[in-house]
């Protein structure tokens, strides 16, 4: 047994614990089931204690962490159901299927709650596009997300992609899904009612993905990585689409007691989690499970991660109608067992008992580990790097062009035009803006959603970087005219058994916690992905934030587009010479150093309130938040989107005793700033609102002409900048 439990990814202590629970030695099937449920990916052993510190409650929260997705009340009897998950390790090995099944998995988490999925967002991280393997991973991941999402008919409306060397061996593929439901149609993943029938719906079970959670997702990569290919799951979006329609129909007719999707750890997870939630157990006969491979052993059927399968619990009186609806949609639905009240999960093969354990022990009793975090030595040196040294480039226009066409800044059109972002005819704001916006048919409401995380900031200061991720997400939603409501997160880190990685994780969770509390955006669900390391090199700590907000009246939404000549261009907020961790520093000077910009949460809140009030009072024409690339990038994006020029006065440098050169001002990534455009006659009203919130208001210039002109410093044709910006990503891939 010793080698066996090790092979399965369990430690000796964990093995002993299992023996204690069962009061005997586990057989192979039982051991396999514990090994997947107690893997880091499923059991959150290293992260549970810290995740408990995140704020998860609020007045509009209907469901926090614990179910398949989080649920927010958006009024009119409607619920917003959303979550984000990672599929990092599979995508590094088999990028198309890894990404595709990542989409499939998160879709199921949403419709299993009773919500129709209405949007996807994909925040991605890759290494440098100069590397051929990175190009391959990037193209295939995009193709995989497109292939799956488009076929299912769910629009991908947002997300982002960043290229940093740190992600070369470990790309990040996080996918967020949003669904809308009538509150009365929401259903939980529960298994209640003695004698109720357990139904397995969807694709047949094969050997794909076996060990996906344990062997693949809970370990670092080394030379043997390619051998793990069989552990990558294979997706079938057509079957998923049928599952979506069948499940929603079953739920609209109130036929089910409980519904749960099969994801990581397959049938083992679905059966033990549903039972555990309800305090019940199940008797399952693996011989009843439809297979697509021959001679599958019980453990294989129980831990297979074959995709597009759902577990339904149905009372006998509704069984016939349920099976009819599955048949109508061309889906297999097999009775594989029954609910019991003993709390025991018993596995049979053709009536013969082959495994037995308390359901709760699988789902809830995995040990919890308290990592030891230690601040890494390199941080002091890198944070205190003297950033006054880099001299302002002689040719500023060249520097601007370089930054605007750099892989992290340039247009992502090449990516999002591969996604059907218009299906379901509800996308009010397309990708390329601050947030994706989905209107809700039959109401005036709309949902805004965005994803954010600057990995570089988090590397330089994980606490500040995490706070900024929340602040920026909220700022993005505000600029669209939405009130931020709640957060889902995907915490991507290295090996938690290493002290510096665990320290990064601790700091990031601390930052998220404080910021979510302050901005009143509780965390209603999410995912942790550890072991994103190759050959001992970890990724940048990347606590990905997915945030949703509500626009009460879609007529009052806002975009970054410069629309009107002669309108004033105004900056809300204050610029400091903060180029630590900035795009400017990386692109022009090839440096990743300094401290990330400082976030003053109070000031941030005030700027956000000011901006939202201005939008809701119809005072402003456009709003765009400043983030990577600072004012330079924000301003240029507004110009390109609206095909308008900008004429700026002498920039207000040194006016607050802040000494900086032009480039430091132009590219500074100071937080809490928004660029708006506003009709001259509305400026005083705006200043009133801003004054009451102590928000600095600076008129930078006005919209006009077809160039970006900044008094003596810059004189560049918008068309030329736009061409470079638009074509840069495709260029980088093809070069």
């Amino acid at each position: 047994m010793a080698e066996v439990y090790e092979e399965l990814g369990l430690t000796e202590d964990e093995f002993e614990k299992i023996k204690k629970i069962l009061k005997r030695e586990p057989n192979f099937l039982e051991l396999a089931m514990y090994s997947v449920m107690w893997s880091e990916h499923c059991a959150y052993k290293y992260s549970k204690p810290l995740l408990k510190t995140l704020p998860t409650e609020g007045p509009s929260i209907l469901q926090g962490p614990g179910e398949n997705a989080g649920v927010v009340d958006i009024g009119d009897g409607l619920a917003l159901v959303f979550k984000m998950e990672s599929h990092n390790h599979p995508s590094a090995i088999e990028p198309y299927q890894g990404a595709a099944t990542g989409v499939g998995g998160i879709l199921r988490d949403i419709f299993t709650m009773g919500a129709r999925p209405v949007a996807l967002l994909d925040p991605l991280r890759f290494g440098s596009l100069k590397k051929p393997r990175v190009k391959y991973l990037f193209e295939e991941v995009i193709a995989g997300i497109a292939g799956y999402g488009n076929c299912c008919g769910i629009p991908t409306i947002g997300g982002d992609v960043y290229f940093e060397d740190a992600y070369e061996g470990n790309p990040l593929v996080n996918v967020m899904c949003i669904g809308i439901a009538e509150q009365e149609n929401l259903i939980k993943g529960s298994a209640e009612g003695d004698g109720n029938i357990v139904l397995l719906m969807g694709s047949k079970t094969g050997r794909d993905g076996i060990g996906g959670v344990s062997v693949l997702a809970s370990r670092e990569f080394d030379e043997g990585a390619e051998e793990k290919r069989p552990s990558v799951q294979v997706g079938d979006p057509f079957t998923e689409k049928l599952l979506i329609e069948a499940c929603l129909e079953l739920l609209s007719k109130d036929l089910l007691v409980g519904l749960q999707d099969l994801g990581g750890a397959g049938l083992t997870c679905a059966t033990c989690e549903t039972s555990s939630r309800s305090g019940t157990g199940m008797d399952v006969d693996v011989a009843k499970i439809l297979r697509r491979e021959e001679k599958m052993q019980p453990f294989e059927t129980m831990i297979s991660e074959s995709q597009e399968r759902m577990l339904a619990v149905v009372s006998p009186e509704y069984l016939e109608e349920t099976l009819e609806i599955c048949s109508k949609w061309g889906l297999d639905a097999t009775q594989i067992g029954k609910v019991n009240t003993t709390g025991t999960l018993s596995i049979y093969e053709n009536g013969e008992l082959v495994g037995k354990m308390p359901a709760r022990s699988l789902a809830d009793d995995a040990p919890v580990y308290f990592g030891k975090g230690e601040r890494p030595d390199y941080l002091d040196k890198i944070q205190n790097t003297d950033l006054s040294q880099p001299e302002e480039p002689n040719n500023i226009a060249d520097a601007v062009m370089q930054v605007i066409s750099s892989p992290n800044i340039c247009s992502r059109q090449w990516v999002y035009q591969q996604y059907d972002h218009m299906v379901q005819t509800s996308t009010a704001v397309f990708p390329g803006s601050d947030a994706g916006v989905i209107r809700i048919k039959g109401t005036k409401k709309a949902i805004a959603a965005t994803t954010d995380c600057n990995g570089r900031y988090c590397y330089l200061d994980p606490y500040m970087g995490a706070k900024i991720a929340i602040a920026e997400a909220a700022r993005n939603l505000i600029c669209s005219g939405a009130k931020p409501l709640a957060v889902t997160d995907c915490l991507n880190f290295g090996n938690p058994e290493k002290s510096y990685c665990f320290w990064q994780f601790e700091q990031a969770v601390k930052g998220l916690s404080e910021a979510c509390e302050f901005f009143q955006t509780p965390v209603v669900g999410g995912n942790v992905s550890f072991y994103n390391e190759s050959f001992g090199e970890a990724i940048y700590p990347t606590p990905m934030v997915g945030m949703v907000g509500l626009i009460e009246d879609i007529e009052q939404s806002c975009t970054p587009v410069f629309k009107e000549d002669d309108a004033l261009i105004v900056l809300l907020g204050q610029t400091y010479p903060e180029i630590g961790g900035s795009e400017y520093l990386k692109v022009i000077f090839d440096m990743v150093a300094g401290k990330p910009p400082y976030l003053d949460m109070e000031k941030e809140k005030n700027v956000q309130s000011c901006c939202l009030q201005a939008i809701q009072n119809n005072l402003i024409l456009s709003a765009h938040d400043c983030s990577e690339g600072g004012i330079a990038v924000a301003l240029i994006e507004c110009c390109i989107m609206g095909n308008k020029g900008a004429i700026l006065d002498e920039p207000p440098i040194g006016s607050e005793g802040q000494e900086m050169d032009f480039c430091q001002w132009f590219f500074s990534e100071s937080q809490s700033r928004v660029i708006i455009s506003i009709k001259k006659e509305n400026l005083s009203k705006l200043k009133e609102i801003a004054g009451g919130l102590q928000v600095p208001v600076t008129v930078l210039g006005q919209i006009g002409g077809n160039k970006v002109q900044i008094n003596g410093k810059i004189d560049m044709a918008v068309e030329e900048i736009a061409n470079n910006w638009q074509g840069a990503l495709e260029c980088a891939i093809k070069s």
Binding site: N150, G153, K241, L242, Y416, Y419, M422, T425, T427
Partner: protein
């Protein structure tokens, strides 16, 4: 009048088409793919999506469904049929329209707004629009590269069957604005009798200003005009 929107397993623009018909103020029903009688409808919509997961070839399996036999009979009796995107592909596979659809020249799925020039304003689907007008309507497909052999192309031209072509904002049909490599920028065609229309762009996505354009209404208005007239 009454629209009927067919649902195949894997269709995903059916709800959008239904919603569009409602916005245009007309009655509309869903038609399940096993239905064998479609006579009560004034216009049948074959919506976009990935019917049968695009297995074998896009549209290849849908053409065998019972509803397609019914639609064949319906169209032979002059009934109006509009096939959008996957719907167009199904009409090609079913032989109700000539030609075939290949993979986009760029080998990638493409979703964006395009400009279309109306080549034939006499059809039941374009009669309220004048020839040469430019419509702004989005596309979203992986296989929109329309192909027909020389003889078929000649026949299409002879019978005025080419209805829409990809063009620029000013209505110029150029290579540079062809999004998918389609032969002569062909985006939509009708059959010889002019009652069956196939187009790759999605008019149901261009019904509301909020979503970017209302030019799709013109196609619906034309259908409504024809059905009532």
């Amino acid at each position: 009048m009454k629209f009927g929107v067919v649902i195949f397993p894997g269709s995903n623009c059916d709800q959008d088409c239904y919603y569009a018909a409602e916005l245009m103020g007309e009655k509309v029903d869903y038609i399940w793919h096993t239905t064998t009688n479609v006579e009560s409808y004034d216009c049948i919509i074959l919506p976009g999506g990935f019917s049968y997961g695009d297995y074998l070839r896009t549209g290849a399996i849908a053409r065998f469904s019972p509803v397609m036999q019914a639609i064949k009979n319906y169209s032979q009796n002059g009934g109006l049929v509009i096939g959008i995107c996957n719907g167009f592909q199904i009409l090609l596979e079913a032989g109700l329209l000539p030609g075939a659809m290949l993979k986009n020249k760029g080998l990638k799925f493409i979703c964006r707004y395009v400009n279309l020039r109306v080549e034939n304003d006499q059809t039941a689907f374009t009669n309220v629009i004048s020839r040469g007008s430019v419509l702004s309507i989005p596309i979203a497909h992986n296989e929109g590269n329309y192909f027909a052999d020389e003889a078929t192309l000649a026949s299409l031209k002879k019978n005025n069957q080419i209805v829409l072509k990809y063009c620029n904002e000013s209505g110029n049909v150029k290579d540079t604005v062809n999004p998918n490599g389609a032969l002569e920028n062909i985006a939509g065609i009708v059959n010889k009798d002019g009652n069956v229309f196939g187009l790759m762009p999605h008019p149901e996505r261009a019904i509301e200003e909020l979503l970017g354009s209302t030019d799709g209404r013109k196609i619906f208005e034309s259908i409504i005009e024809s059905a009532k007239g």
